[in-house]
Symmetry: C2
Subunit: 192 residues, 2 copies
């Protein structure tokens, strides 16, 4: 029988003290994610950490909840803000995001094409319904940290996003953050 | 098809702005929870709010995550600190607790009798495995607020706890918090 797991999130750094599974995504892991390939490659000489994920590992079976933190560092590739790769779940499963630090957006998209996005600041709480892809984007000047939780058995599908991308771009124009269409057919809604 | 849900947790009050389902538990709802029945009844003339739960309502089916906040106010019934009723899940399902404010404990117990407890301060992250009952206790001087998430389809079993109680008491003795056995057979472990 499994025992309780007791850990600690440092709200300042977003890191989970001990025994978390840590995944680090550097610029060189993110070819195909950012649109400006030349800008991306020109930054490879100092391979920058774009985001990291600290995860509490639980059994991958029905009834269990995988949870952890994602920490996106501030930065841009060309005019595009640092962000996560984004994923669908393989099986239908919702996901909760709670912003703990910083300022950014969550972008969500159905396989059919409908998209939604919402600004997140500390306290923002977003429920990504089953079958919606999701990505988070740091549009601030410090770390953008979210706590997340999802059903452990649903798995990750990164490939669909790698092939098709999302329908929105999060860019800096004249020193200001803007959200633009990525020139694909879609419906979308702005959730605040 | 369900749409994303975007809400906001006020980290100071623990409350979720709009459209949350709010459950309030007053002293008069908690007969049988606290051991000092006379102290409990003597407090009924000013029926005090012990805790409240703000919950995001999602469909009760596999793959969905119910989530929200529990806010326990500071106080005691006799020498026993304010706490939640506590519950098992009807079907096997884990639950995540993340402390956002205050100071307290989480007490967890298997049906067989093994118990665990852990101190929680802001940042403390506890995973209650499937089939463990759980209760949270405010041992501080302000609100003790936790964010929680669990699989929506697992249901709540309050009755087993109402009948048998938990194996630990969280009391104030000579102005100091202490944890005592409730004189039942059990194994237990202290998780820090």
């Amino acid at each position: 029988m499994m025992k309780p797991i007791c850990r600690f999130i440092d709200f300042e750094t977003g890191k989970i003290g001990s025994n978390a599974k840590i995944t680090k995504r550097y610029l060189s892991d993110l070819e195909g994610v950012f649109r400006d390939i030349d800008a991306l490659r020109s930054m490879f000489n100092r391979d920058i950490l774009v985001y990291e994920v600290h995860e509490i590992v639980v059994p991958e079976r029905a009834g269990e909840i995988t949870h952890g933190t994602s920490i996106i560092y501030p930065g841009k590739v060309g005019d595009e803000y640092f962000m996560t790769k984004g994923h669908f779940h393989v099986r239908a499963g919702g996901e909760v995001y709670l912003c703990l630090k910083g300022e950014g957006y969550i972008l969500m998209e159905e396989k059919g094409g409908r998209s939604s996005y919402s600004k997140m600041i500390p306290g923002s709480l977003v429920y990504v319904p089953p079958l919606w892809a999701h990505r988070t984007i740091n549009m601030g000047t410090k770390e953008f940290t979210c706590f997340y939780a999802f059903p452990s058995e649903v798995g990750h599908d990164y490939e669909s996003i790698e092939k098709k991308g999302f329908s929105k771009l999060f860019l800096e124009r004249d020193g200001k953050p803007v959200i633009e269409n990525a020139h694909r057919d879609h419906q979308d809604s702005f959730l605040g």
